[in-house]
Amino acid sequence: MKQFFLIFFCLVVSLWATPAEKDSSRSFHDAFLALEGGAIYPNSDLGQVIDRSYYGLAEFRYSYFGPFFGVVQFGYAYMNTTDDVAFPGVHQFNGRVGVDYPIQMAKPISIGGGFSCIWARADGSDEDTKTSTLYDNESEFGWYLRLDLPIVRTQNYRVGAKVYYETLWTLPNRSNMLWIGFYVERKLW
């Protein structure tokens, strides 16, 4: 939570440091749809129970206000468990809502951040999952920071890479993961 608090204040400071143009007409003026796939790397302790896993997601990105873009995502990941765990994996559905900010000095790179929400349920027989809290549906929230690195850009398409650092507010410790993926984005309007 301390980390989150620091990020919050950084976000607020950055908003003051880069006053946006007063241009409310940009909301939804441009909209983009992207498909993205990649790998999830759990950090430190979590690696004892979760192996590298793969995800797929769809993203709706839209011009919001000033230089900001709004981001809404829905996706799925099958989280592979290590051999120490009684069941083979966990189904995870995730959603994210946030904003992206194109860095003027490093065009076309954007940084972004926002909130995450996941729904998780263990994969495996009742016998294997009965001692886990994931035997039924569980949900958790968290936050993420991300970097958007477009590699190829045409008038209607972008192809690039995204890197996320995500923290889920789990107990007894927070769950931190690194997501790295590639995307293809089509301009909708």
């Binding site: 919050f8 939804f28 759990p42 809502v97 998780a120 001692t131 809290t133 958790e140 789990t170 107990l171």
Partner: protein, 569 residues
């Protein structure tokens, strides 16, 4: 309060204040979750001790009936907004949230269900109200808040089957409600009819959580000019599986009022309203509460008199034959002096019952708890309020003193502990001696156009009496700091820090239960698209503070996150 906090509170008081924009909680009626102007202790979404700095008396605001609450819910002898069946504005909306701190992937590191770490519980809501077609509209809504439910889950799951007692999930949420309805909105006419299905837990004076299933619950409302009417029909089922008991209550309650509201801004010098609030019940089998004679009819008169712009007199008086209640107030405003406005006033509250329409009895095994007391209470409060506003600053302070005699309290006969919860028998009683109090609150705000507002508030309430048999000793001090940024009407950040000093429950457990003073941080982040009537909000409540049980038999007050999306029509 420790020294630093006292000093901080003093500095805040010394710097004065203004209205505070509180972060919105999950559902209507849970506003006490984020208020920082007094003592607010939550057991569940359906039970809280809510004591604002400006009400006076030692009771909780929700214990008190008054004509502003004609459309509130009756939960035993309290008035509740939650679960709210108030009609929402035309829109479609969705909300979901959770107490944060589920195990998820930590599960495998700490041995899952054997870890001893309790589950965290969600909230959810979905609703719709159509645009009117020739004035007619339709609405549907389903909502429940599962928070606070883990602490008493073990005991409550003996009463009902957890798989059945909610619209969604098996957490035994304190309420789970759904309704569907039709309405008409015309130039002067607003009318609606709702029907639905609801699961609810009410906390009795015994401290027991009593489950009720309303199937159906129907509510009709009618407002035409100065005529206001509402009627509710409830078919309530009671059950206690472990005791093998079932019961049924059919209830009709409602109100009718003719005339201006006493608080209306009408220019008339005299305003009167005549109203009646009523309840009638038909009980069979094991019903854990009782209403004397099975009905209560409470006619009342509301009035305001403001002969000029400076003086205002307002109040109400009513009687059911068994109980009476009255309140009156006088407020005198002074001419603006050096940019500051001052008001002085006096309020009286004299009643034989805080809630003359509440239940009269609670039945606990072979015991009967009497929920009314002989005699009457009298509360008198005088105040001075001064506030001023310039372009950038707003400062205000309110200093009050009150005295109360015959304050309602509880006289416990015995206590019993069941699986960690403590129940009591006894009856509602009075403190037949004077209780005295001095209260002061100050607030200060700084504005920068409509982009930024910084607010602060601090106050204290010192209560003294010969006979300290208070159900709750309210907090002696509170501090709140908040900010609201509005960036081009498209991005709104709001946050507040609130502190409340220790409060104490004296009569719910054999030894007093102290609720330690706590800081909270609440924040919300909203993306707004006014051009499309669209909003997207994420809210964090009660973070950074200690998680604690604020009411004996209540649930843990955990940090929660919830988000909602709304498209207005």
């Amino acid at each position: 309060m420790n020294v630093q906090i006292k000093l901080f509170a003093f500095l805040c008081v010394a710097s004065f204040t203004a209205p505070f924009a509180d972060v919105l909680p999950e559902t209507e009626g849970m506003e006490e979750e984020t208020r920082g102007d007094g003592t607010y202790l939550t057991a569940s979404p359906t039970y809280s001790y809510d004591h604002s700095s400006q009400m006076g008396g030692i009771h909780s605001e929700s214990e008190e009936w008054n004509p502003d609450k004609l459309r509130f819910r009756y939960l035993v002898n309290r008035m509740s907004i939650t679960p709210s069946w108030n009609i929402q504005d035309p829109a479609v909306w969705l909300a979901t949230g959770n107490e944060i701190g589920d195990l998820i992937y930590q599960d495998m590191l700490v041995d899952g269900v054997n870890s001893g770490i309790s589950n965290r519980t969600p909230m959810m809501e979905a609703g719709f109200r159509s645009k009117p077609y020739r004035g007619f509209w339709a609405t549907v809504r389903a909502f429940q808040v599962d928070h606070y439910s883990v602490g008493s889950f073990g005991v409550r799951s003996e009463w009902v089957d957890a798989k059945e007692f909610a619209l969604f999930g098996e957490n035994l949420p304190f309420f789970s409600s759904t309704y569907i309805g039709l309405g008409y909105s015309g130039e002067k006419l607003e009318t609606s009819l709702l029907s639905g299905h609801e699961y609810l837990w009410m906390m009795g004076e015994s401290g027991r959580w009593i489950p009720i299933e309303y199937k159906p619950r129907a509510e009709a409302r009618f407002d035409f000019d100065d005529i206001h009417a509402s009627v509710v029909y409830e078919n309530a089922k009671f059950r206690n599986n472990s005791a093998g008991e079932t019961g049924r209550r059919q209830e009709v309650n409602g109100s009718f009022k003719l005339g201006e509201d006493s608080l209306s801004m009408s220019k008339e010098a005299w305003n009167f309203a005549l109203g009646v609030a009523f309840r009638a019940v038909d009980d069979s089998g094991a019903v854990y509460f009782g209403l004397k004679d099975d009905y209560v009819i409470f006619p009342f008169l509301e009035y305001t008199f403001h002969p000029n712009n400076r003086l205002k007199i307002a109040g109400f008086a009513g009687t059911s034959g068994r109980e009476f209640a009255s309140k009156d107030s006088v407020n005198l405003g002074f001419a603006e002096f050096s940019g500051a406005k001052a008001n002085v006033g006096f309020k009286n509250h004299i009643a034989s019952s805080l809630n003359p329409l509440g239940e009269t009895y609670e039945y606990y095994d072979s015991d009967t708890l009497n929920l009314t007391a002989d005699g009457f209470m009298q509360l008198h409060r005088a105040y001075l309020d001064v506030r001023g506003r310039s372009e950038f600053f707003e400062l205000g302070m309110n200093i009050a003193g009150w005295v109360e005699k015959g304050a309602e309290t509880f006289d416990p006969d015995s206590f019993k502990t069941v699986k960690g919860l403590t129940y009591r028998t006894g009856s509602v009683d009075r403190i037949d001696s004077w209780i005295k109090s001095i209260t002061a609150e100050a607030n200060a705000s700084v504005y920068y156009k409509k982009m930024l507002t910084l607010s602060s508030r601090a106050g204290f309430e010192k209560i003294d009496g010969d006979e300290e048999r208070f159900e709750v000793n309210p907090a002696e001090g509170w501090v709140a700091l908040g900010a609201r940024w509005n960036l081009y009407d498209h991005f709104i950040l709001e946050h507040s820090w609130t502190y409340r000093s220790d409060a104490k429950w004296n009569l719910r457990t054999e030894d007093p239960y102290v609720v330690k003073g706590v800081w909270y941080w609440n924040a919300s982040f909203s993306q707004l698209f006014p051009e499309y009537g669209l909003s997207l909000t994420g809210t964090i409540l009660h973070s950074l503070g200690d998680e604690q049980i604020q009411v004996p038999n209540g649930g843990y007050d955990r940090t929660r996150f919830y988000c909602n999306i709304k498209k207005s029509f």
